[in-house]
Point group: C2
Chain length 173, copies 2
């Protein structure tokens, strides 16, 4: 697995069920959402801007994409939320299995972030992102071409404590 | 990672949050439970019996254990459930990273089962179990010594369709 194939497999519309576990308080949250993943051109101005603000040569970018979501949580009955983010993979020049992922906003905090990704032997995409006051570890893998699994951990910035563990099942619409 | 270290790391009492996703109907189920994992002797009569009924030489067994659980689901407010099962790993003689796992009853169906396990490069325990009318795929990994993650898929017996995906966060008590 490499980032080209992973992004291509991810394109499209997905119906997502997400469960979050607050580990300290044993709280559950349930979220249903629709996720759209669409490719962007390497010379899209937003991609270029994100490269510039991270001092990355736009020539090094591979398969940038936009992810948008719209859904609702059982914590806010009747209320919907939505969001969108641009993601720009920057593979290592000498290792197609690993690289950096630029985002114009993160999940855990609504600020830009640079994560480090790699693919494990079994094809799982593993993304580590350090924020100011927290760190996120995300694993994404395909069970089949129409079913994607995602496990996300939000840790304290030192990485010792896990605050939240969440799990998404994403079915291609 | 091998089965010796994995079982030793798993011994103790765990507080579990489990979320199940019914993928066809977009249902959620939330379960909280306490799980106890205790070692058994290789010459425990129940271990010997399970070997005999599976025509396994008891000398090939490594680190058998009992897993018990007690909890409640948000589908049955106020009702508790409990259960116990004996698990007997049988590593391959020439490959400590893989083997079979005997159980006197399964999760998906309350009948005895033999699963096949292996450890992936990153230390994840992967267990595949075929039942008469379904197949289960389970991944278990440690985030740290006191936090275990478990993702379970229940598939149609042909393996093509995934019926249920569930996720457990298990914290050492």
């Amino acid at each position: 697995m490499d980032i080209t194939k992973f992004v291509e497999n991810s394109l499209g519309q997905w119906r997502s069920q997400r469960s979050s576990h607050n580990l300290a308080l044993t709280y559950f949250e349930q979220v249903t959402s629709t996720i759209d993943i669409v490719p962007l051109a390497k010379d899209d101005s937003k991609v270029i801007d994100l490269c510039k603000s991270n001092e990355i040569d736009p020539q090094m970018v591979s398969h940038p994409f936009r992810m948008s979501w719209e859904g609702e949580s059982d914590w806010d009955e009747g209320e919907t939320f939505e969001g969108t983010t641009i993601l720009v993979p920057v593979p290592e020049p000498d290792n197609p299995q690993a690289g950096r992922l630029l985002r114009d906003q993160g999940y855990a905090e609504t600020i830009p972030a640079i994560g480090k990704y790699h693919f494990s032997e079994d094809g799982t995409f593993v993304l580590l992102t350090a924020y100011d006051r927290a760190a996120a570890e995300e694993k994404i893998w395909f069970v089949n071409p129409n079913l994607r699994m995602r496990v996300s951990l939000i840790k304290t910035s030192g990485g010792s404590g896990v605050l939240t563990a969440s799990f998404s099942s994403e079915i291609r619409s």
